[in-house]
């Protein structure tokens, strides 16, 4: 559906996007993740035809965005970082304007009503956008992207500035959209991606550093498994027993509680499942295990580890990269 090949964007001698390639299949929800200035917005701008690429090709549904921009743009609904709203218009006028702007052929009344129901703005339909709250404005922005029922929907940080309830609503909305649309979602809020996306692409300093299915992404970066144990018994002996289990790479005491129990952090060697052996080692010595928790690296750890990796050829040259 979306195919990006070796996309490069230079602003003068600053490299904002340094040759990234990925594909997004139809009906997929892809999370585009990266620290500020990583090149997320720049990539999206190139994908939507707002900026041109210095090198490389972006095709949407087989249409090259530079060769046939008008046809390609028809396939895309885009919510930029700042929702592009005409504050002096009412929601109704605004959506009708978008409808005309995109030269839609769907039934106007019906289509706009459906969109308003989907993003829940029916009750503010006749109000002037200037008077709407941030959450409603954001939703009008989303509604704008949905007009014309585009095949591809691109959201740039859609939940910024919303309250927790609204964030959950928007996330659910995006999930729903994923059933009929291909969605790209850029954000630096990690739980959001985990909650919504089928696949995660992490970008840093203009390069893709990870491109994995959401459920696989933990394993990719944490070959070793981390466990938290709570055991009743003499702490020192237990620690020694844990360390003697084959496959344990590291173990330490991380605390004790009044129940005469001690908490241990245990890290396995990469690719070894030590859970059974660990349990048996404790129980066979007559100690009681009252807690056993797998700590699987969370997205934050992954994010930090991936983003902090030194990249000698890219990192040093540029001091400041334009907000990406």
């Amino acid at each position: 559906m979306i195919k990006i090949e070796n996309l490069v964007k230079r602003f003068g001698d600053k490299v904002a996007v340094a040759g990234i390639s990925f594909t997004v299949d139809e009906g997929e929800i892809v999370g585009f993740l990266g620290p500020n200035g990583a090149g997320k917005t720049t990539t999206m701008s190139m994908l939507t035809g707002y900026l041109s690429s210095t090198e490389g090709v972006a095709t949407i549904n087989g249409i090259n965005i530079l060769e046939d921009p008008i046809e390609a743009k028809k396939q895309i609904g885009y919510l930029p970082e700042f929702p592009p709203l005409y504050l002096e218009m009412t929601v109704k006028e605004y959506l009708n304007f978008i409808y005309d702007l995109k030269s839609c052929t769907l039934n106007r009344e019906k289509h706009l009503k459906e969109i308003c129901d989907t993003v829940k703005i029916t009750d503010v339909y006749n109000r002037v956008i200037r008077n709407l709250s941030k959450g409603y404005r954001q939703r009008v922005g989303i509604a704008q992207a949905l007009v014309g029922n585009p095949k591809v929907i691109i959201f740039d940080e859609p939940t910024v500035g919303l309250d927790p309830k609204q964030i959950i609503e928007i996330r659910n909305l995006i999930k729903d959209l994923g059933r009929n649309h291909t969605v790209i979602l850029s954000t630096h809020i990690l739980p959001e991606v985990q909650a919504v996306c089928d696949r995660i692409i992490i970008i840093n300093k203009g390069k893709i550093v990870a491109n994995e299915k959401t459920e696989n992404i933990d394993e990719l970066f944490s070959g070793s498994r981390r466990l938290c144990l709570k055991v009743c018994g003499p702490a020192k002996d237990i620690l020694n027993a844990i360390r003697s289990v084959t496959g344990v790479a590291y173990a330490e005491i991380i605390g004790s509680s009044d129940l005469d129990s001690t908490s241990f952090l245990v890290e396995s060697m990469p690719g070894v499942d030590i859970r059974k052996m660990l349990f048996n080692a404790i129980v066979s010595r007559g100690w009681t295990m009252i807690g056993f928790e797998s700590m699987g690296a969370n997205l934050e750890d992954i994010f930090v580890s991936v983003v902090d990796q030194p990249e000698p050829n890219v990192g040093k040259k540029r001091k400041s990269v334009r907000k990406g």
Partner: protein, 235 residues
């Protein structure tokens, strides 16, 4: 493209700027007409009237154009237009014609002034018509300059002031003549001057060269505006 035109046209009358333009234009042109034609007692001569209108354009037309792109940039709606299935040319043309519609419409209304001439004198219809055509083209050139300058900044005030300066330059270069010795420079200044060329019309001569010149300025600046956006995309 038509959607942008329609929205732009409406926005003039959502904010006060459209009303202000129409009201001020009609009032000032009426006053000029009374003073320069009716009270001057020069029978039906409209030469001074048309020349004075040009002076008014210098201030009035930037009012129409200052917001066109500057406002979009400030409100971040520019991105919407540039990622919509509309060509750059279409976008620029839509905005130009929206401003032009207001201007030309107001001018046509101000033609009521001429009724007085027909009632009490014998105006030369050909001169009125020729001058009107030229005036509408000069207006187009000024608006086109304004469109271009508005695309360069996100501050409406700067857009308006810069437009005034540029239009002033185009209008008035011939006024510098008396300070310049070089005949070559003088002829260049005369050639550029919108004002100098316009005087032909006011005195009854339909100058095709001038028509082409005005239209060229309009096209040139609209083209430059498109280039501004293309350049931004490619830079």
């Amino acid at each position: 493209m038509f959607a942008i035109y329609k929205r732009e046209l409406r926005s003039y009358f959502i904010s006060p700027i459209g009303y202000i333009f129409v009201a001020v234009y009609l009032a000032v042109s009426g006053i000029i007409f009374s003073i320069c034609t009716l009270n001057a007692g020069q029978d039906s001569s409209v030469a001074t009237y048309f020349m004075m209108l040009l002076y008014m354009f210098i201030i009035a037309l930037p009012l129409l154009t200052m917001k066109l792109f500057a406002d979009e940039k400030k409100a971040r709606t520019e991105q919407l237009l540039l990622t919509s299935p509309v060509s750059l040319m279409g976008m620029v043309a839509a905005k130009f014609f929206a401003a032009y519609t207001i201007f030309a419409g107001t001018y046509l209304v101000s033609c009521i002034n001429f009724i007085a001439l027909y009632n009490y004198g014998t105006p030369n219809t050909a001169v009125l018509f020729g001058s009107s055509v030229a005036l509408l083209l000069v207006g187009g050139a000024c608006i086109s300059v304004g469109v271009f300058i508005s695309s360069l900044t996100e501050n409406q005030l700067i857009a308006a002031l810069a437009t005034i300066v540029v239009i002033l330059f185009f209008m008035m270069t011939s006024a510098l003549n008396s300070y310049i010795d070089s005949a070559l420079i003088r002829s260049v200044l005369n050639w550029v001057s919108i004002f100098e060329r316009f005087s032909n019309f006011a005195y009854g001569y339909f100058d095709i060269n001038a028509i082409v010149y005005y239209a060229s300025i309009s096209f040139a600046f609209l083209f430059l505006t498109v280039r501004v956006y293309e350049k931004r995309r490619w830079s």
